[in-house]
Amino acid sequence: MSVSDQMMKGLLDGAILGLISQGETYGYEILEKLKERDFPEISDGSIYPVLLRLSKKGYVQTELKKSDTGGPKRKYYTITDKGLEELAVFRNKWSYLNKGMNNLMRSVEDAK
């Protein structure tokens, strides 16, 4: 796996957790919201391993409910207290990382 792929994998966990924190949602809707916000380079299915991981760690909880389309029951995700704590840690780390990376990349561009 390339460096950029690994980076995307880590960021996707935080991005999805952030989306779920905004209210109850389900798989396809999460994907649509990621696309709306121009989250780059994800295949549609890549959100499901992430959702399984977040669920396994207890950051989100799931509930089966009737879907709006009247089809079979759909799995909805909501964030837990543990998930909110993790999201706060992620946001904090992300702001440091974002600042640090921007500074670093600017110096790389200057060197060119």
Binding site: Y28, S46, S67
Partner: protein, 257 residues
Amino acid sequence: MLSKEAEKFLLNLRLELMSRGKKDKDIQEIEAELRDHLKEAEAHGQSVESITGGSVKDYIRSISEELPRDKGFIKYSILLLIYLLGVFIIPDLISGDFELNTSVILYNLAVLAIGTVGTIIIVKKIVTKYGDSKKTYISYGIFFSLFMASMVGAQFIIRNHPGIVIAESNQSVNLIIGAILLSIFIIVPLIMKQGFLALFTFLICLPEIIAKIVTGGGSPESESYVWISAIVFFVIAITAIGILIYTSKKEDKKTSN
């Protein structure tokens, strides 16, 4: 209604996760979730590739990595191997035709390996290639026919080339050991609430039991013994296939309603 391609992908996913020993509940949940996603995706003109990102194999692996393995998987696999070994040996013991030699050991090991690991690999390969189609069922039929034919062929080879004889006993001792093992292999599955396995053991041994009773404890090599056991086996096989077809058609009818 999902496309054939999507159904094939979900079937692949289910088989792969099952063969990796994942919990039934988890498999059902992820399958239902991806089915829900695929319905919306296809309604918006997207294909299965949008989910898998191109490689079905890699995608299924990424899902599999996040699902815990069923703790009982290894225990049940070992129990199943012991059960299969019993199913292969008990009928021979009851008929009094059992002899422990190197060929018998190699034969049983080969049957267990092909019958379990081999079958999983072949079934997965067939489903991956053809999905839920007629070709799949025809391929299953060909594989299992070849497997059964090889088993029958190997039995003839064993009789003519027994290799090194490790243990042999007379017919009555074989019969007693067979009866004890048969009772164990029926009672234990019943205690474990696996009635189907208990019934299967009994049905596999029934041709030998009936032939033994009707011929008054006759030799398994006598013509009447061979005919009786073959006829009973044929009747059981036809009845079982008939019941399976009937119940599967009933299930299909139920699902379509």
